[in-house]
């Protein structure tokens, strides 16, 4: 009886893992704030990048400010392969990264080990 309960419990846990990690979940998206011909958006780094997608206007100088709250070694660096950016994010710091907005498109970025991903949309 006890074993049956364990088996049922395990099946439920497996089910919820599948739902939680593989199910469709809405990702957060945010547009950058405009001021003085500059656009700026803050991304919080804690177990991932929030908001996960930031939208920038084409042709306007842009800055993404990474605020790292997560001490995990996974987030030591942030890498934008399309822009040649590879920078360290000190914990607790607000670290601005300039983004070249001359070409519209979708660009992904990731942590140093390429485990966590975020997206920049320029339009």
């Amino acid at each position: 009886m006890e074993k049956l309960l364990v088996a049922i419990g395990a099946a439920l846990v497996v089910g919820s893992i599948v739902w939680w990690f593989f199910g469709k979940h809405t990702t957060t998206e945010k547009e950058a704030d405009m001021s003085n011909d500059m656009q700026e958006v803050t991304v919080t780094v804690s177990g991932g990048y929030t908001p996960n997608t930031v939208v920038l206007r084409q042709g306007v100088p842009a800055k993404i400010v990474f605020e790292r709250k997560d001490p995990s070694g996974c987030f030591n660096e942030v890498v934008f392969p399309d822009f040649g950016v590879h920078e360290e994010l000190p914990v607790g710091d607000k670290h601005p990264i300039a983004i070249d907005t001359s070409k519209p498109g979708e660009y992904t970025y990731a942590c140093g080990m390429n485990m966590f991903h975020g997206k920049v949309v320029i339009k």
């Binding site: 074993k3 049956l4 364990v6 088996a7 395990a10 846990v13 497996v14 893992i17 599948v18 939680w20 990690f21 593989f22 979940h25 804690s46 177990g47 991932g48 929030t50 996960n52 997560d70 001490p71 995990s72 070694g73 996974c74 890498v79 934008f80 392969p81 040649g84 950016v85 590879h86 140093g112 080990m113 390429n114 485990m115 966590f116």
Partner: protein, 635 residues
């Protein structure tokens, strides 16, 4: 708290438990206060050293993500919480599992930080090369100014032993300069007035002044740094497969661990603690960091090593492309050959012919004249004074020297026919695709000088190596068939495509692509379309004039052996990426079944502590494997 500090705390607190584990079975020694002491020690380790894993795992979980911290957090907390439960029910505990796993994982991370630092040191090294200040001439006085205040057009003084501040052209003086740090050229280079100097290289012997031509981001070293930076963060296309896998990897491992536990506990009748250990071992062994490190570390080391040799690889895509090249197409002039004529043969009395020719050609800027003057200078022949100099367009020059009328030029300059011997020699030289000039005095021909744009010293060696590696070699040139074939024969190239218009080179490359991937090697300035059309464009620069935009690989030095080295380096780096990925995958695919207890029948099991140790060293081994690229033999 740093990873290192966390590791030290975890190691110190784990030590008593390790002592008991080793000494216990031998001497029966037990920790004072046994389980309670273990509980205390492990609790501190969990809170101080393990909490960051749990914190990240939880934050990631809320974002529907899972990573290696998830596996470590769940694995160690399971062992820890179960031990507390077991302690209350007077069953065997295994606090040490949680403690050891955390210690080993942190040990792995400490090593990883150390070795990764070494892998990415190339950029710091390049940045460290930059000069900090320069002695600039301002209002007639030499003043020391910081490097960022130097502007184009400044006249800068350099003394022996000093670092040259920015790119420029020598205006006064001469010296030998060590350019190894930028071009990879190990021999110091002699420079005189009019020669270009590269910022950050070191002046050895003489003092000179130069005019700054490129400063800040436009300078060669700054461009090299930018390019290496871009290359190191780029992704090889192979990485896409890895990304897809690592995205689903952790949740799948969680499920496998649960299935392992259920299988042992429910179906195979193991007791709860044993089943739990199998599940925890699966979680710990599966940490995918080796997978994540495989590509970036190899890319970093490979591109960094290239940069030190003056071989700049633009990105990971280029590395992959270099891997299945079948044909290497070379531009002739300036790539295979020196790009300017050199004297190859002198018929007649060498000294006399050269003396006459160099005296007449001394003030001319024609490339052939330049070749003759250089040859005379190299043999120590000093030009004599001439009067009544006259250049005859398309034919040659005449002038009075020591009272007689002398001439240097081609057949059209002469009315007379050459003697039988000289005519035969001339025919022979022309058959070798050499340009022949006739040298004479007072109506008599005294000799012939043959000039040719000769191959670089290393061209035939490089081509021989490429052919030995099974690559076919092709030369494309705008020159006529005869000249092209003569050069091709000298360096041993397989196929010649001559008389190609500059705009047509790209089309030739495209048609060669029918039979396999093509690399094009050109000078980067005139050959941009062909470089772009090829599967791999290799742009050869010389000194400061590198055209970074045009090629996938840029060679700073003008040495064709670097083509061989660049291809080797790309192949070795890409090979290393594949090897790293292979081991990272194998490690997980073999490790998980063993940890799950699938091979218990063969006596093969993996305790969670061992799994933690193995997992720590898998990431370290991948980084070390990448670092070994620094020692791989090239060419």
């Amino acid at each position: 708290m740093s990873v290192k500090a966390r590791f030290i705390i975890a190691a110190v607190l784990s030590a008593p438990m390790l002592a008991e584990m080793i000494l216990g079975p031998l001497t029966g020694w037990k920790l004072p206060g046994h389980t309670w002491t273990m509980l205390g020690l492990t609790t501190v380790i969990m809170i101080v050293c393990g909490a960051p894993f749990i914190h990240t795992a939880w934050a990631a979980f809320r974002n529907h993500h899972a990573n290696m911290d998830t596996l470590i957090a769940i694995g160690t907390s399971t062992a820890y919480l179960y031990s507390i439960y077991a302690m209350m029910n007077h069953q065997p505990v295994f606090f040490e599992v949680a403690a050891f796993v955390i210690t080993f994982i942190l040990l792995g991370q400490v090593f990883e930080e150390m070795t990764k630092g070494r892998a990415s040191s190339a950029i710091e090294k390049l940045l460290g090369l930059q000069a900090r200040d320069a002695e600039v001439l301002r209002d007639g006085e030499v003043v020391l100014v910081p490097i960022n205040e130097v502007t184009v057009g400044d006249i800068i003084r350099v003394r022996p032993g000093q670092k040259i501040a920015v790119d420029g052209v020598i205006t006064e003086g001469s010296s030998t300069i060590d350019e190894a740090m930028v071009t990879g050229e190990s021999m110091p280079v002699t420079k005189k007035v009019g020669d270009a100097v590269i910022g950050s290289t070191i002046n050895k012997t003489g003092a000179f002044t130069f005019k700054a031509t490129k400063v800040g981001e436009a300078a060669l070293l700054a461009q090299i740094i930018e390019m290496v930076k871009n290359a190191q963060v780029s992704r090889a296309p192979i990485q896409k497969i890895v990304d897809t896998i690592s995205n689903v990897f952790v949740p799948v491992v969680l499920i496998i661990a649960i299935i392992t536990f259920v299988a042992w506990y429910v179906f195979l009748g193991a007791d709860a603690s044993q089943a739990l250990m199998y599940g925890v071992a699966v979680l710990i062994i599966a940490c995918p960091c080796a997978l994540g490190l495989a590509t970036p570390t190899a890319l970093m080391v490979g591109t960094g090593r290239g940069a030190r040799m003056g071989i700049l690889v633009k990105n990971g895509e280029v590395l992959e492309a270099a891997n299945n090249i079948k044909t290497v197409v070379f531009d002739k002039t300036g790539t295979i050959t020196l790009g300017q004529p050199t004297v190859t043969d002198i018929i007649g009395d060498e000294k006399e012919v050269l003396l006459l020719a160099s005296s007449l050609e001394h003030s001319s800027e024609h490339p052939i004249a330049q070749a003759i003057v250089d040859k005379a200078a190299s043999l120590g022949v000093v030009p004599q004074k001439i009067t009544r100099f006259k250049a005859v367009e398309g034919k040659g020059v005449t002038a009075d020297i020591a009272g007689t009328r002398a001439f240097v030029g081609n057949v059209k300059l002469l009315d007379v026919q050459l003697s039988g011997d000289l005519a035969a020699e001339m025919q022979r030289l022309q058959n070798e695709a050499k340009t022949v000039v006739i040298v004479g005095r007072a109506g008599w021909v005294i000799g012939l000088i043959a000039v040719q744009d000769v191959p670089k010293k290393t061209s035939s060696e490089a081509i021989a190596i490429l052919k030995k590696r099974g690559l076919s070699t092709v030369m494309v040139t705008g020159d006529n068939q005869r000249v092209a074939e003569a050069i091709a024969a000298q360096v041993g190239i397989d196929e010649v495509i001559a008389e190609v218009l500059p705009g047509d080179k790209a089309n030739r490359v495209t048609s060669l692509q029918q039979s396999g991937n093509v690399a094009f090697v050109g000078d980067g300035i005139n050959d941009a379309p062909a470089l772009a059309a090829a599967d791999l464009g290799i742009a050869m620069g010389s000194g400061t004039d590198i055209a970074i935009e045009s090629g996938g690989i840029v060679l700073v030095k003008n040495d064709i052996m670097d083509v061989v080295r660049a291809l080797s380096l790309s192949q070795k780096t890409f090979g290393r990426i594949k090897l790293n990925l292979f081991w990272a995958f194998i490690y997980n695919t073999l490790g998980i079944p063993v940890a799950a207890g699938l091979f218990v029948w063969a006596g093969l099991t993996l305790s969670p502590e061992l799994a933690g140790l193995a997992m720590a060293f898998s990431s370290v081994s991948v980084v070390v494997s990448s670092l070994l690229l620094n020692r791989a033999r090239l060419a």
